[in-house]
Symmetry: C2
Subunit: 503 residues, 2 copies
């Protein structure tokens, strides 16, 4: 009875259904949204695209429910939601109509044919660039053994803590803080937390104007590359090294020089004179995971003065140490203002949030802030505020301990499995991080290995992509942040079988 009353109240014309193009009425496939929200989605989209008549009612709840194969109450809930949003109006005894203000939309172009441009060739052509982005298969997480870099284990992420921070950050009294444009200043809360909880543990003291928030460490390197490119001097990088840095400095217009590394890290004597900057990853060399020795750090700082270069210290995975304590950062050792420190929250919070930072002399930060403003104004305020709370409420510290514990376990499992099954390969000495660097004998083709392994469900990073000057294809990298600990040894065994077959 209630239903027929509802129906009588919202009486609909006979031709209603015909007034809607059927394709707008199909619910999306595999949508994670609730049925009510899916209906809101398709109906509001139909309104925006002017596919609904304005002088006739929408289908009645009963009709639409039948057509979409959902309950009448669900359609009723969706319609009422759209009334709340003022996209529909409900008229007693007539039904639901598109709100008059939507009919008067200034923005929609009526009866305009969308121009398809597929036929036109591109009027410009780009010279091939040498930025070589390293691309994992898009379905990498469908592989049983994805030993690849830069993904986090989603099970580790403290979703509830993150949600709590988001809820608090979105409180109405916080709104003006994050809704507005703020080219110049970063979130004071986030800067404060970085100083107190992150830089502090790396022995670094920095004033507010010596810190710049960036959109991840990749963005930090690109900004630094840009402000130093005008000097016209080359930038030296570890070789093998971080392709992200290489690409950032290349795109921002600098000439690159590769510098060899040994078991103590980058070799200062191998740095040519005349360089503007030297990029290094002392905590764990990317990609070999070598930790720069204390003596080498001192030598490198001395070379910076002697040869008049600045050092970019990318404090890559500084938190992940399982055998020894973290070494002090080079920035904390430097008395000359020559070390520019770059950090990231991608590994310790999540790569999807895209937050990093630069600590440097305030003159450099001032220049970097201007460049950042021109490139993108600032990282989204809302993300900065959520992450600040994530620190403030203690979630970061708690999460970091969990990551360390989990990766520690995996690192030792990897260490054992590699010792047991891959002893025919050279392994670079490592005390932490989330990967291992392995090399075959002279003539070994790790790229071929990577191809073979992919067929067996194992993804590894081939080493040759990390080289700038040398073209060494003997090495490969095994990242273990994403492979569950129970699968690690099985994966290593598959690798061992292929390596053995290739030797």
């Amino acid at each position: 009875m209630a239903l027929s009353f509802d129906c009588a109240k919202h009486k609909c014309g006979e031709n209603t259904l015909a007034s809607i193009t059927p394709r707008f009425l199909k619910l999306p496939e595999n949508s994670p949204l609730s049925l009510r929200d899916q209906i809101c989605e398709v109906v509001s989209a139909a309104i925006t695209s002017k596919s609904l008549a304005h002088d006739r009612p929408l289908p009645s709840c009963r009709e639409l429910a039948e057509q979409l194969q959902v309950s009448r109450n669900t359609v009723f809930a969706a319609y009422n939601r759209l009334v709340d949003l003022e996209l529909l109006v409900s008229r007693d005894r007539s039904g639901y109509f598109v709100a008059p203000q939507m009919a008067a939309l200034n923005t929609a172009l009526e009866d305009r044919e969308l121009s398809e441009k597929d036929a036109a060739p591109c009027p410009v052509s780009f010279p091939s660039n040498n930025l070589m982005p390293i691309v994992n298969p898009l379905d990498w997480n469908a592989y049983p053994y994805p030993f690849i870099y830069n993904q986090i284990d989603p099970d580790l992420f403290p979703v509830d803590g993150w949600r709590e921070c988001t809820r608090q950050a979105l409180g109405r009294k916080q709104m003006p803080t994050w809704a507005n444009d703020s080219v110049e200043s970063d979130s004071p809360q986030l800067v404060q937390q970085l100083r107190q909880r992150l830089l502090n543990t790396r022995g670094i003291y920095a004033d507010e104007d010596e810190i710049l928030i960036t959109l991840g460490s990749q963005n930090a390197l690109y900004i630094l590359g840009t402000i130093f490119a005008q000097s016209g001097k080359p930038i030296a990088l570890e070789d093998p090294g971080f392709f992200g840095a290489r690409n950032a400095f290349r795109l921002s217009g600098s000439e690159l020089v590769g510098v060899a590394i040994d078991d103590d890290g980058i070799i200062p004597d191998a740095i040519p004179t005349g360089c503007q900057l030297v990029f290094t990853t002392p905590s764990h060399q990317f990609p070999t995971m070598v930790t720069m020795s204390q003596q080498r750090r001192e030598d490198l700082l001395k070379a910076a003065v002697d040869k008049d270069f600045l050092i970019i210290e990318d404090d890559y995975e500084a938190e992940m140490n399982y055998v020894a304590k973290s070494s002090p950062s080079m920035r904390s050792m430097d008395k000359t203002g020559r070390v520019i420190y770059v950090g990231s929250l991608s590994k310790t919070v999540s790569p999807g949030i895209r937050l990093g930072f630069i600590v440097a002399h305030r003159d450099i930060i001032r220049e970097a802030r201007i460049a950042r403003g021109v490139m993108m104004r600032h990282p989204p305020t809302i993300v900065q505020e959520i992450v600040a709370l994530f620190f403030q409420l203690g979630h970061y510290d708690s999460h970091l301990r969990n990551i360390e514990r989990r990766y520690n376990k995996r690192w030792h499992a990897m260490n054992s499995a590699i010792t047991k099954h891959l002893s025919m390969l050279d392994r670079t000495k490592s005390e932490g991080g989330t990967s291992f660097w392995l090399s075959g004998p002279k003539g070994f083709d790790a790229s071929e290995l990577a191809v073979r392994l992919k067929d067996k469900g194992v993804l590894v990073d081939r080493g040759q992509d990390y080289y700038l000057n040398y073209n060494d294809s003997r090495s490969f990298r095994l990242g273990f942040a994403y492979v569950p600990v129970s699968n690690l040894e099985a994966g290593i065994e598959i690798i061992a079988d292929e390596v053995t077959a290739m030797l």
Copy 2:
């Protein structure tokens, strides 16, 4: 009784308080957090910075409550929260202790003196750049009449709808989507919504691979500037014009050419041959608000073919039209693939979220995607997902109508007030947008006006900042997005008084 039991259970040593440096025990001033969360913040920060002894208990709830002047239950709640986070442990009859795993922190450096570097001069110096960021006073919203550009009225923002989208986007089953790194691909949901609800209303059809999500339109312009800079050809811009575009193209290394505008928009005949790109804002010319006429659009498209340049169409405030309907976008008129369309969600959602997009030929998008990856990988996944839901659930359409209504009212109020009080100035013909462009007679100094008005609580944007080649100081701009409608006329009257005094 319950309290003394509690106290007995968590018995504390006499010297406990002395074990904490008092400065860590002060609650932050003016914190928006709850008292419990403030205590979590200071105690967890003290743990991170190793300021708490590990072999002695923390102050008891009673002691800390007295010291901080809060209730004992609040301290109790905070301590339990930190136990949940595994930062503290509770030991019966002994009290709360720092968790043993926190004591074994690898990352914290013990007894390390933080090195202050204030004394060291910067080892490099930067030549002064000509990027001239336009900076509003940081306390601009404390002025009663902030007639400035690029801020939104926070009262307009649909906080509840945004919260709902955030909550849904953060559901656990969504987690892998947004926590992971996704250099290559943008949120398919967001791309789909842009196509269906935004590009559609501008007459634009685009495939997925013809769209790139950027960190706001500023970032879109910088990316485009970068990929075209290697051509070595100059870029032409409207003069006066958008300083954001000027800075983006300048920083990415192109030579700039200013092109005069008239009442129909940019003048195609004034564009010199040999330019790679022409930047234009046809919907509402920035900063004069002139809408480019239909004939002018056709002439400009023809000139693009004749002189072999591409057009960047920044569809600035296309949604905000109060007198006439929106004109079709140039991208929708173009049959030659020469128009690159740039859009933003800053005005229609919020500037703090930093989302924009490029629509162009897929060859251009492919190149832009590589450049974006090197500059910053991608805009934060979580923000993309929230905004996609904001569209999907109908909030965007609803919000856009509200903005239009509100700004429409303000525009007409401004229009009347300017007609009534500022008829001694030239006003550029405008049919929409969120600002007006006014010019005094020859010799009038609008920069002087801006300085005088600031003292009277009125902020205006002086015109000379918008010029590239010309140095016209007769004009100024009045943005009304932030000034409440009830204050508009009073503000205009103050401006009129000053203008009169200066004439």
